[in-house]
């Protein structure tokens, strides 16, 4: 029993990183832009969070600063991919290298230090005493609730329940048709890609201010890539992405709990689980159904040139 509670509690905490990054990627991919720079954005957000959180010992300001940095780098990425219509794979890889390298360079003097300000655990009275799920769901840091409930609900509502959302999805499916209908394709793409990037950087700050909580080179450890993969098998939908993130939280948690409880498996192999799990989730559905169950937005990865319509 206690093991299950422990795994669930760690899963919710660890999954939050992936959930936030995946939600950002959903926004970007829904408008047709494949952002492979999440890994770099998370590194930048993580290091910004820790630096600001150390200078002004306040975790919320650290997160806010990370979001602002994410907006800035997201705007650069959007400028390259949406306005200049450069190759999205190339720009994404560039952003990953730039972000990872830059974060490691400026974060050197903060490496290994525990975060001065962290997102504290908030214990919900009564609910946290529930057996098994109480400690997992109602004794977490405050960010867990917006990440798992408010944000996906807001994104779902905007994308699938408003006229604006219909336009947004049209931009990702058929930008030429959207353009003809008077939807500002470039503007919508630019805004959603930039906001998505900010969420990616926010996920990095969550990582260094709530989950680990400290900064070191390589702390992101491929979570950005797992988030990108997550979006694919979540079928580009916000709630599925969050549930998928929770599932990966569980896989990650097995690694931690296994180490803590001295399971007879080498920790290095437990640490491989999230990567191998992601690989399995990308390949198994294809073997079973012959393809991913839900198709990508039709214009994903394709720059839109009005003059070549």
């Amino acid at each position: 029993m206690e093991v299950i509670t422990g795994i669930l509690a760690t899963a919710v905490l660890a999954g939050g990183v992936l959930a936030l990054a995946a939600l950002g990627e959903v926004l970007s991919e829904r408008v047709g832009v494949f952002n492979l720079g999440v890994e770099g954005l998370m590194a930048l957000g993580g290091v910004t969070g820790i630096i600001v959180g150390t200078l002004i010992p306040n975790a919320f300001l650290g997160l806010l600063a990370a979001l602002v940095v994410g907006l800035a780098f997201g705007a650069v990425f959007a400028l390259a991919t949406v306005v200049f219509r450069a190759n999205q794979v190339l720009c994404g890889l560039a952003l990953t290298m730039l972000g990872t390298g830059l974060a490691a360079t400026i974060g050197r003097s903060y490496s290994g230090m525990p975060a001065k300000a962290v997102f504290e655990r908030v214990v919900v009275p009564y609910l946290s005493d529930l057996p098994i799920v109480g400690r997992a769901f109602f004794s977490q840091n405050i960010l867990v609730y917006p990440i798992y409930i408010l944000l996906p609900a807001a994104i779902y509502f905007i994308l699938f329940r408003t006229r604006h959302g219909l336009n947004v999805r049209a931009v990702g499916e058929n930008p030429a048709a959207a353009d003809a209908a008077g939807v500002p394709v470039t503007l919508i793409r630019f805004c959603y890609v930039t906001i998505g990037a900010a969420l990616g950087a926010g996920a990095g700050a969550y990582l260094t201010l709530a989950f680990v909580p400290s900064w070191s080179e390589g702390v992101v450890a491929g979570r950005g890539w797992i988030a990108v993969a997550l979006v694919i098998f979540a079928g580009y939908r916000p709630f599925s992405a969050v549930l998928g993130a929770l599932l990966f939280g569980v896989i990650t948690a097995f690694g931690f709990v296994g180490q803590a409880r001295n399971w007879p498996v080498t920790p290095a192999f437990l640490s491989m689980l999230p990567y191998l799990g992601t690989l399995a989730f990308m390949i198994v559905p294809v073997i079973v159904w012959g393809r991913q169950r839900r198709a990508a937005p039709a214009a994903l990865g394709v720059p839109y040139f009005r003059d070549e319509r």
């Binding site: 890889l93 560039a94 990872t100 491929g222 640490s271 990567y275 390949i283 294809v286 393809r291």
Partner: protein, 367 residues
């Protein structure tokens, strides 16, 4: 008559080359500005880098030791670009090549050098191929995004290498920390510390280029990359070619790892790759996927990486090299697009195309 930019769908190789050059220089200029703003003297640093890289035989040997693996990892990525795929996993395949070499080198001792080196070479190549096999099959037969699958395996390879080099294979003789025991087999030296692996790395792009240009396989791979549907309808086995190209790519990256262990480092350790796999992506992009062009592109990135290592003494981290590489890649991607635009002044260019018979009539009647 207003001037405006129009997009040209196809540009000349020359124009693309100029765009690349300008992008590269602009990215370096931004780097120099950032360095200047943070209290460094970019010109002095640049002079120091050039002097230390090219000014002495030792400097050139060090550069060569970075140049060789970058040619191989760059080539590994470039061949996949030929068929329209991305191998982002050269880093992992490099690690596995090094891992397999160390595994054999540590456990099969006292054998004659020449056959052992051949064995290690083949084993390194096979290791790299094994590491890319699943992403290759999944991409070819299941359309599973190869960028993410190849990349994820990098982390698995890294964890594996960290584990064995600090665990079961750790050095018990000399007290070197976080590294495996020493692999005794050594690739013969060419000049100073530079070993014959450099020659292999230099021949590889030429060999692949000949394969691509003069064999049926190479022809079909190029067609499959340029237009998969056309290749398919012409009866070419596009999927099988995807797998064979990716296996070739994995083998090349694995060989790079093998040469790094048997040629210069001799010990398996966490940081052994120097980001060669990721920097190889930049090399392949700069080379526009052309095997021969990998050679000058790798030299460019080798100087950059060497600069990072030299500048460590100035308090800069080698991770800065990765950041600068990212910046160059971003500028390159944008530059490639900007090269497609040219300024059109005459109204005639902008006029909608008119069917030829209609266009001809006013000229004869109205004249």
């Amino acid at each position: 008559m207003a001037a405006r930019f129009i997009r040209v769908p196809v540009i000349t190789a020359q124009r693309a080359f100029v765009a690349r050059g300008v992008s590269f220089i602009l990215a370096l200029a931004v780097t120099a500005l950032v360095l200047a703003a943070t209290g460094f003297d970019p010109l002095a640093l640049g002079a120091q880098i050039l002097r230390k890289s090219f000014g002495s035989a030792f400097g050139l040997e060090d550069l060569g030791l970075l140049f060789a693996p970058l040619m191989l990892t760059g080539l590994a990525v470039a061949v996949t670009l030929r068929i329209g795929l991305w191998n982002i996993g050269a880093e992992g395949q490099f690690y596995i090549g090094a891992f397999v070499t160390t595994a054999i080198g540590l456990h099969v001792t006292g054998m004659p050098l020449a056959p052992m080196l051949v064995l290690l070479f083949v084993a390194g190549a096979l290791g790299g191929m094994a590491w890319i096999l699943i992403p290759a099959l999944a991409r070819a037969y299941g359309r599973v995004d190869e960028i993410i699958t190849t990349l994820l395996l990098n982390f698995v390879a890294l964890l594996l290498v960290y584990y064995v080099s600090t665990g079961p294979w750790r050095d018990r003789v000399t007290g070197v920390t976080a590294a495996s025991g020493r692999v005794e087999y050594d690739v013969p030296d060419l000049h100073g510390t530079l070993h014959w692996g450099f020659v292999i790395a230099l021949i590889a792009p030429i060999l692949v280029s000949l394969l691509m240009r003069y064999t049926r396989w190479g022809y079909e791979v190029r067609i499959s990359g340029a237009n998969p549907d056309a290749a398919h309808y012409a009866g070419m086995p596009v999927k099988r070619h995807m797998v064979s190209v990716m296996l070739l790519s994995g083998a090349i990256a694995g060989i790079a790892g093998m040469l790094e262990i048997a040629g210069s480092v001799h010990r398996l350790q966490g940081g052994i790759s120097n980001n060669f796999g990721y920097l190889g992506i930049m090399v392949a992009v700069l080379a526009r996927g052309r095997p021969i062009a990998v050679i000058p592109a790798a030299l460019l990135i080798a100087v950059l990486l060497n600069a990072g290592i030299i500048l460590q003494t100035q308090g800069l981290k080698t991770s800065a090299v990765l950041a600068v590489t990212g910046l160059i890649m971003l500028f390159t991607a944008v530059g490639d697009q900007i090269a497609h635009y040219r300024l059109a002044r005459s109204a005639a260019v902008l006029a909608p195309p008119v069917p030829a018979p209609l266009a001809a009539r006013p000229a004869t009647e109205g004249g």
